[in-house]
Symmetry: C2
Subunit: 327 residues, 2 copies
DNA sequence: CTGTTAGCGCGTTCAG
DNA sequence: CTGAACGCGCTAACAG
């Protein structure tokens, strides 16, 4: 069932059918009706490949994330997909995992799919092998969400998490909390920025930071519990916790409460988890929705041929709850 | 940069380049090397549209879900995408929301994208306008995850949640809990099956069920809290809670603990939330991973032209934790 | 082992 | 307002 069949059925040429398909005004109303009726009746659907081949666009964008099962990324994808839909575009989702190899494969593969643009969530890799990204950016716009690269054709949207952590630390210092434990899971841009904020705050306060209080843990409650316990066994003192993620914060809170310890705990992303915790978790809202909206605005502009800022940064916001109050 | 350019550069015909592209053995090793080198050097990428047009397949499958930000669906998508990747296929993600209109649009749109198959997660709609699904199923395999339709070309994979609820109720009855509150969020197949189990258990025990203990709530802690409170105000008695979802169970638990009530609570899906709750939630594991694996096995078979069962049902498993123990 | 050629289905000039 | 003809990039016979 193709455009020829429809044309034949209607006694017109494919050009006319094509015009109807593309809402061209240059078709007599009566002809249009007839053609639409036949298309409807035959259940005709235009072939996207053929159209894509001619037009050089499948109206698809690649969406790369590391782990879609992560609530934060899933929510981002939800916002992104919603926006794409309004532009009659499709999202090709690809999860890369946290290995450089996974990402390389994903990039290579996505590239073949005649994608109009590439959205990368939470890039988890150290900034090596930029050549691949460069090559892609030369062909299509690349939007980085929660990471940052200075490459032509690459647009970065980030949240100022460095400042958020630094300010948080300031509050803790003022409360005489000097030994802040920082928990993270993946060493991505976002995490590195937080750690930068951590060190910046110590430096600003004229205090000495100690890297043994910067700890990588798995996103698993049992593992977090084990880590916290081991810290105590090793007599690593800490009197507050900042976690790169609400789940880690929740795990730490559970572990500490279990052994009767009580201290300020702050998570990140202000996810549903923060409110599910007992006591409820204070969390830094990274305004994911705004982040995604900005990313999509940028994409729209770039695709429309307009210019857009290559790096947009938005501020975070502290959501105070039971696990830590500033005042 | 197309296949002609490469062919010209190498002094061969496009057929030979195409053979190299498709790993045909009928190419002299030396020629192959040369062509590969040029492709590498020029950064050539075959055009998927053109290939798709000729082959009649873009190696893409449509993945429809209602809300990707939902942890359960996101996890399912993660499993699905992973499997698709091993088959060199892409996932086109589309979120429909919970309205029939959203779904219709999604189906219509996905259909245009020359998709090889359609995977539908957690179909949220009453079984009306089957004509659209029928039309699609006539063209390509349709796999339903967590829902069930008896239509040629449609394959359903479900979990026996009806039995899970019925057995759970049996345990509660034996403990003299007669008034079980059932909370749900979306009236989808999965939910209806649970409610069937609810009624089945009452019938089996020779007891009378009361629909005022079957309550729809939003997936929002405050709303759940308000609902629970209102129930008490309205003097609707209940002495146990089963929720269609861990978040609802957690919300109910929080609400009840806040007013000092203590009763068995069971959630569904055995999500990370269950363990994040305090006390930890007992939850019914619906074996999502197995569900997805089965779905993808089915898809593989159908795409390979083999026959596959039109309805596969797998059992659930109760994960006992603090909020309810059988013994 | 390699080249030639005919589609795949549609958009788009350019004539009428 | 409509139609004929070409091109998009690639695959798959078929012919050497």
């Amino acid at each position: 069932m193709n455009i020829y069949d429809i044309a034949e059925q209607c006694g017109v040429s494919i050009a006319t059918v094509s015009r109807v398909l593309n809402n061209s005004p240059n078709v007599r109303a009566q002809t249009r009706e007839r053609i639409l009726a036949v298309m409807q009746e035959k259940g005709y659907t235009p072939n996207a490949c053929a159209r894509g081949l001619g037009l050089g666009s499948m109206r698809q964008v690649g969406v790369l994330c590391t782990h879609i099962e992560d609530a934060f990324q899933a929510t981002a994808v939800a916002y992104i997909e919603e926006r794409l839909r309004t532009q009659e575009m499709n999202a090709i989702l690809r999860c890369t995992g946290s290995t450089a190899q996974g990402k390389q494969e994903a990039l290579r593969y996505i590239l073949q799919q005649q994608v109009d643009a590439l959205l990368v969530l939470d890039d988890a890799y150290p900034q090596q092998d930029l050549s691949q990204i460069e090559a892609i950016a030369a062909r299509m716009p690349v939007i980085l969400l929660n990471s940052h690269l200075e490459i032509p054709g690459v647009y970065s949207i980030t949240c100022d998490e460095q400042t958020a952590v630094a300010e948080l630390m300031g509050h803790l210092f003022r409360r005489q909390r000097r030994d802040v434990l920082f928990l993270y899971h993946t060493n991505n841009y976002s995490c590195r920025e937080k750690i930068n904020g951590y060190h910046r705050a110590y430096a600003a306060a004229g205090l000495q930071s100690d890297d043994k209080r910067i700890l990588q843990v798995n996103r698993d409650l049992d593992d977090i519990n084990a880590c916290i316990k081991q810290l105590l066994v090793k007599q690593v003192h800490f009197d507050a916790v900042i976690a790169s993620d609400d789940l880690l914060a929740l795990g730490a809170q559970k572990a500490l409460l279990r052994i009767g310890l009580n201290m300020p705990i702050v998570g990140f992303n202000n996810s549903a988890l923060a409110r599910c915790a007992t006591p409820e978790l204070t969390s830094v809202d990274t305004h994911l929705q705004t982040l995604c909206a900005t990313a999509m605005d940028t994409l729209d502009k770039v695709l429309a041929g307009e210019t857009a800022p290559t790096h947009t940064q938005i501020p975070c916001q502290l959501m105070e709850r039971d696990s830590f109050r500033i005042n």
